[in-house]
């Protein structure tokens, strides 16, 4: 802010237009640099604070399922699995639903319905995550608990996969958390998909329709290839949000620091265990282990971003080869 004020004052004092431009450029440059610096700062601080735990447990920290504050023995595997599994469930739910919403708004909805539905989707994105958590715990979980005996009897009976769907009907757990997360990220993915679907050139779509393509064929062979980059970006944005979501997950995941095969059993995610235990973490190593979890989440998010970039590059190259 002070920089801006000086800029205005110097302009008022008769400074040339050029110097104002230079100042503005420096100002924006400084802001951009600040973001990079804070990112580096966070990374350095996280690494330094988590060093005692990483040094003590080494690579075992990543593959150990122990989490015992009493004997100061910590491992991250339970939370890594919880974070990844709940986010994957969320994506499995959110991608098809978002695609349907976006396609409906951009291609099929009558014009008068387009705006209200769009607004409703955007409004969903504005709800604070703690509200989703409370809704999940007080409304969704009891309802889901009634559904779980059915899941036990039908999905649980499938050989192999069945083990994923067996457990007491509590309504809370990994699957419930994944579903609530999915609902939370739908508006993000749907909004981006809708925006890019709408900018697909009308001429392309109409040519396809003229050749007798159905709506599905237009979506599959015209819209999706054209908007692939942005759609992938939107999905990864949703994934990023799901990975780091804290409050909603804490409310509904069940917060059991154990690994279990079933998705109906309670679990824990990195963000939820940090939120739960950080305030009362009294020993040095305990705090350090929690911060090391934070570092791991940082790395997971980073890896996801890199994978997204690589995927997009690969897609572009394939496209180039085809052309």
């Amino acid at each position: 802010m002070p920089v801006k004020v000086t800029a205005q004052r110097s302009a008022a004092a008769g400074g040339s237009r050029l110097s104002l431009d230079v100042l503005f450029r420096k100002f924006t440059g400084a802001i951009a640099l600040l973001v990079t610096l804070s990112l580096a700062g966070i990374l350095i601080a996280l690494t330094r604070e988590s060093w005692p735990a990483l040094h003590r447990f080494g690579w075992h920290f990543l593959i150990s399922t122990a989490w015992d504050p009493v004997s100061d023995n910590y491992g991250a595997l339970v939370f890594i699995v919880g974070t990844v599994v709940s986010s994957v469930i969320a994506l499995l739910l959110a991608i098809p639903v978002s695609f349907g919403i976006a396609l409906f708004i951009s291609e099929m909805a009558p014009r008068w319905l387009r705006e209200p539905v769009s607004a409703a989707v955007e409004l969903l994105a504005a709800i604070p995550s703690i509200i989703y958590g409370m809704w999940g715990l007080l409304v969704f979980a009891p309802w889901f608990g009634n559904l779980e005996p059915w899941i036990n009897d039908h999905l649980g009976a499938i050989p192999w996969l069945g083990a994923l769907f067996q457990g007491p009907p509590m309504g809370i757990g990994m699957l419930a958390a994944g579903i609530v997360l999915g609902v939370m990220i739908i508006p993000f993915i749907a909004a981006i998909m809708r925006d890019v679907f709408l900018v697909t050139p009308q001429a392309l779509k109409e040519s396809a329709y003229a050749m007798g393509a159905t709506t599905w064929e237009v979506a599959r062979y015209v819209i999706l290839p054209y908007t692939r980059t942005a759609v992938t970006g939107g999905i990864f944005l949703g994934l990023g949000r799901a990975l780091g979501e804290t409050m909603a997950v804490t409310f509904i995941i069940g917060n059991a620091n154990n690994l279990s095969a079933s998705l109906l059993m309670p679990g824990s995610s990195i963000a939820s265990v940090i939120a739960n235990e950080f305030t009362e973490a009294t020993t040095h190593l305990y705090k350090s282990a929690l911060l090391a979890l934070g570092l791991i989440l940082f790395v997971i998010t980073f890896v996801v971003l890199v994978l997204a970039k690589l995927l997009l590059l690969r897609l572009d190259r394939m496209e180039g080869r085809r052309a």
């Binding site: 509590m170 917060n255 939120a275 973490a281 009294t282």
Partner: protein, 339 residues
């Protein structure tokens, strides 16, 4: 160049900074345990009305409270878990208890009302170890001869967040069950072998109300507030007791604080016929390195609370310290702080 208006504004800003400094002199800052937060908040409100001195307490958690008092950024820190005398000596700290609270087990069993279920420490330990899995287990049935216990799986509910409530609960189970002591131990968070975790007392209570056949532990204040189905317990003397402020205080009155170094006593499983077995308390931690005036303002505040804040404490289900304990604290202040 400053215009006259601006320089006047600047002067005003400087003046207000000084007056802020003056206001801070009549302010005591503390941080730590969320368990004791309602009590300190209530006391400080009344204390400010009477003396004009503000006590600014932030419930940031015991871990944070200990860190802050070690760093010297607050006048007192509060912890639900006492520090060992060695740890205190290492950082030049002292600690004393504030008030006594208790917790109890609550359950969701069709047809069994509040106070009807009877439990004992060893049985609770077996339940939370996952060794007693059914409500109609012979061990529970033996304690409840008149009760028709359902053939239902037990789901244990515990605190997901690090909490003094968990520490007190686990400390009690460590005293009554050798297996618990060896396998699990006591801390603000534990490696629970079974069960689900709810956030806060509210989270535990809501899971218990939701899941049929569940059992959880919550603070007594919360049982009163939410009208939960609570259990009665056999205490160390083998007497059957219900949770009550009187029971919590009895736990403290049987402790000889003059013998316990730095009040390092945990009030669980204390003797006495009326003693409630899962009683706990919160400690205030002061730094010996702090200016004497600062420490004196803190001790004056707590002395006022011990003296005049008793009914306030009782109104939010905290048991006031027995007079013998308060005397021991005064003597402790004299030896360690010269106050």
């Amino acid at each position: 160049m400053l215009t006259p208006v601006k320089s006047r504004l600047a002067a005003l800003a400087v003046a207000s900074m000084f007056s802020l400094g003056a206001a801070q002199a009549a302010q005591i800052t503390g941080a730590g345990s969320t368990w004791v937060y309602p009590l300190v908040a209530k006391w400080s409100e009344a204390y400010a009305k009477e003396t004009g001195i503000q006590v600014n307490y932030q419930g940031i958690g015991s871990g944070g409270g200990i860190a802050q008092i070690k760093a010297g950024t607050v006048a007192f820190g509060a912890s639900d878990m006492p520090l060992t005398p060695e740890e205190l000596a290492q950082s030049d700290l002292i600690q004393f208890p504030t008030a006594i609270a208790g917790e109890d087990l609550v359950y969701n069993l069709p047809g069994i009302k509040a106070g009807e279920l009877i439990l004992s420490g060893p049985v609770v330990a077996e339940i939370y170890l996952g060794k007693i899995k059914q409500w109609n287990d012979p061990a529970i049935a033996k304690l409840n001869p008149g009760l028709k216990l359902p053939d239902m799986a037990i789901t244990t509910v515990h605190r997901a967040d690090g909490s003094g409530t968990t520490f007190t609960f686990a400390n009690y189970l460590s005293k009554v069950s050798p297996e618990w002591k060896e396998k699990i131990g006591a801390n603000t968070s534990l490696a629970w072998p079974v069960g689900v975790g709810g956030k806060g007392n509210a989270g535990v209570a809501s899971y218990v109300q939701r899941i049929k056949g569940s059992i959880g532990y919550v603070e007594y204040a919360y049982i009163l507030e939410s009208k939960l189905d609570y259990a009665r317990m056999y205490n160390r003397d083998g007497k059957l007791v219900s949770p009550s402020l009187k029971g919590f205080q009895d736990a403290a009155s049987h402790v000889d604080f003059t013998k316990a170094r730095d009040f390092y006593v945990i009030l669980t499983d204390q003797p006495g016929p009326g003693t409630w077995p899962i009683s706990g308390c919160t400690w205030q931690i002061l730094s010996k390195k702090a200016p004497k005036a600062t420490n004196e303002s803190v001790t004056t505040f707590f002395l006022w609370g011990f003296d005049k804040g008793q009914s306030m404490a009782e109104s939010i289900a905290f048991g006031p310290l027995p007079p013998t304990t308060v005397d021991a604290i005064k003597a402790y202040w004299k030896t360690n702080l010269g106050i």
